[in-house]
């Protein structure tokens, strides 16, 4: 079984070519439904549903239910996340809520206060 703790944080590429790119000074709320990648560097409140990747950047503050193929959380996240493939929580992330995924990676230093459910793919 894959370890849920990983020592070294990988370099996460800046994804400003994502279909949904919400920048650092932007506050958005509502439902974001797409089949493309979503990158959030600002504040977001609501729901995110995508068949692509969700990236919550280091300084992001997101309160949302997430339904995605894969997700990388680097910022401050609160909500229910259902991630089909891989959920990666990096060292600077703070996460609260419930997390459901098949592959779960938590970097050393991450703060996670969440109910977690893992299932085999």
């Amino acid at each position: 079984m894959r370890s849920i703790f990983k020592k070294k944080s990988p370099e996460i590429p800046f994804n400003n070519f994502a279909e949904y790119y919400i920048g650092a000074e932007v506050t958005a709320s509502g439902k974001c439904k797409t089949d493309q990648d979503v990158y959030i560097d600002g504040k977001f409140h609501g729901e995110i549903s995508t068949t692509g990747l969700v990236e919550l950047a280091k300084n992001s503050k997101v309160e949302a239910d997430i339904d995605a193929r894969s997700a990388i959380i680097e910022g401050d996240y609160t909500g229910n996340a259902k991630v089909l493939d891989e959920l990666h929580i990096t060292s600077c992330a703070t996460v609260q809520g419930t997390l459901q995924t098949t592959n779960f990676i938590v970097d050393r230093g991450a703060v996670v206060s969440a109910r977690t459910k893992m299932e085999r793919a």
Partner: protein
């Protein structure tokens, strides 16, 4: 009947005037010429006479042609728009026109394509449309409120927004409209070219995080702002600004063999 809208650059070129005169005679074109000095004149003429034209030709700069597109609600459904340039620009590259002589030849060939336009407060655009806030010394960074497809609300401090019409793009996508918002202070000099902007943005990201604030797809948008908003002709826009799809297609004359280039997204035009 043809209508030729000649802007200042066209009026100042005796060679072009002579060539146009000979071309109209040779082609036996029934035509009305409208010398124009500003974009407002185009609106007035189109409103009063637009319905009687079958072919509307913008002669001069790219902005003259764009102004005609904007006022296309005044034209007949079967009317076609064409362009005779006085300089090389993005539009000439799209339509495959080298110069005004080539422009005349292209108009005569009448190779027509239909493009879906997007509308902004009942004005239309084919490729991209830029709006920006009016600079005010006393005002802090203005806040823009965007309602997106009636499901998302976005607040952002921004100076410049560019709407891209994605109906013309070849790659598949689910939304006809893409909104990009920038901080004007850091905007590249080449504002029209998305790919160049994006490329620079990528390289400069470390020192300049405010350049691009938002890139988001939508079907409809409604925009309100704490500051006055103007378009690229410095025309004040009534808020809230509503952006959506135009009900009818715009018929455009392009050079033969240039049909693909004419519908490419702005960043792919070199």
């Amino acid at each position: 009947m043809y209508a030729l809208f000649l802007d200042k650059s066209a009026q100042d070129s005796p060679a072009l005037q002579t060539y146009l005169q000979n071309w109209k005679q040779a082609q036996k074109i029934n035509c009305e010429d409208y010398p124009i000095n500003n974009v407002e004149q185009i609106t007035t003429i189109c409103r009063e006479h637009g319905k009687k034209f079958t072919t509307i030709v913008g002669v001069g700069s790219e902005s003259t042609f764009q102004a005609l597109i904007s006022e296309s609600r005044y034209f007949n459904e079967k009317a076609v728009l064409a362009y005779i340039p006085t300089s090389v620009n993005t539009l000439t590259k799209r339509l495959g026109i080298k110069d005004y002589k080539d422009g005349c030849a292209t108009v005569a060939q009448r190779k027509i394509i239909e493009l879906t336009a997007l509308s902004i407060n009942q004005q239309y655009f084919l490729f991209d449309y830029k709006i920006q806030t009016v600079k005010s010394v006393s005002q802090d960074s203005p806040t823009t409120h965007i309602h997106l497809d009636k499901t998302m609300q976005i607040d952002l401090p921004t100076d410049v927004m560019i709407f891209h019409n994605r109906n013309q793009e070849l790659l598949p996508h689910n939304s006809p409209l893409l909104l990009e918002a920038y901080s004007q202070n850091n905007l590249s000099s080449d504002k029209r070219n998305v790919l160049k902007l994006a490329k620079q943005h990528m390289y400069n990201m470390a020192e300049d995080e405010k350049r691009l604030q938002l890139r988001i797809p939508a079907h409809t948008l409604q925009i309100d702002c704490s500051a006055e908003l103007v378009n690229s002709y410095n025309h004040k826009l009534k808020t809230p600004i509503t952006v959506g799809q135009h009900k009818k297609s715009i018929r455009l004359i392009v050079k033969k063999g240039q049909e693909l280039q004419a519908i490419l997204s702005p960043g792919l035009i070199s």
